[in-house]
Symmetry: C2
Subunit: 191 residues, 2 copies
Amino acid sequence: MAGRRSGTPDTRGEIIAAAREAFASQGFDRTSLRSIARSAGVDPALIHHYFDGKDALFVAAMDLPLSPRERLAEALDVPRDQAGVAVIRTMLTVWDDEAYQPSLLGVLRSLTSGTAAGTELRTAFVEGMIFPALRQEIEGGVSERAVGLVGSQIIGLIVARYLIGVEPLVSMDSEELAQLVGPTIQRYIDL
Amino acid sequence: MAGRRSGTPDTRGEIIAAAREAFASQGFDRTSLRSIARSAGVDPALIHHYFDGKDALFVAAMDLPLSPRERLAEALDVPRDQAGVAVIRTMLTVWDDEAYQPSLLGVLRSLTSGTAAGTELRTAFVEGMIFPALRQEIEGGVSERAVGLVGSQIIGLIVARYLIGVEPLVSMDSEELAQLVGPTIQRYIDL
């Protein structure tokens, strides 16, 4: 078909790039594989060749220019009593970056959409990427209760600052915010 | 038309009840005034008679069997050093109640949907109901920074426990959770 190419070494990457943009701007539910294929200029069948359905493509598209898990692991290579501020500082650095923010917002909207897909994605994203880093990389270890509570404050800060837009959280300097919220994370870690 | 009634004293209430159910089960975006009219058994024109569009109907439908603002105000009638636990305890009591939870989840999904309607609703719900209670009812007053930070932990706990379903937060006893998260709220209040 005119304008459609068959598989090349870059096809998979182009599909992922188109998917990332579509998921970010329209959310998971409203994005179709057909529209992604159109944006990528490929035949829809090629998407099925590379990915086992929309969920699998979304998970691949979430593999952002960075790996949240690796970034967190790196940030958590500090003494235990500095872990709280380090977690928030890293989270804000990643989310403040305009290269990542649209994709991350797309993921977040899908996570909170309350659909079955949202449940799948929670497992892939929150439990697959963020929580293991907290569990494994904090010096001395943390309880599951602590992981959940840390997660709740991280999720709330992200929703308030980036999704809903609660002031003065939106305008605050990220380091000031890390110093204010860090002790909350630290207290949960030490529970 | 058969099955459709013209306005009666209860019509407004029946429209609101139908709207509440529709918004809760389908979210704001996917709910149409036409489908609400059908559920309520009234002519769509009657909805426009009582409400100035879908946003206005949603705001009316959010006027839950309880007023979040009044409930919070009541809960905050305690000494300042008990406000943190009181806020979380009240929030969990309301959200754990199966009579309110579906409606509240509908509101939350709409707030996080990232659409223009979400922005409108944020103003109506978060800033119109929850934040003023925090601002006005805490003995001695709080800073705007504190209001935002308290909001972030409340939102995150709600999203984690009720929307995403993060364990062990889902299974935890509400009083235990209030005792664990209360000190976070208290620290923000005292910042």
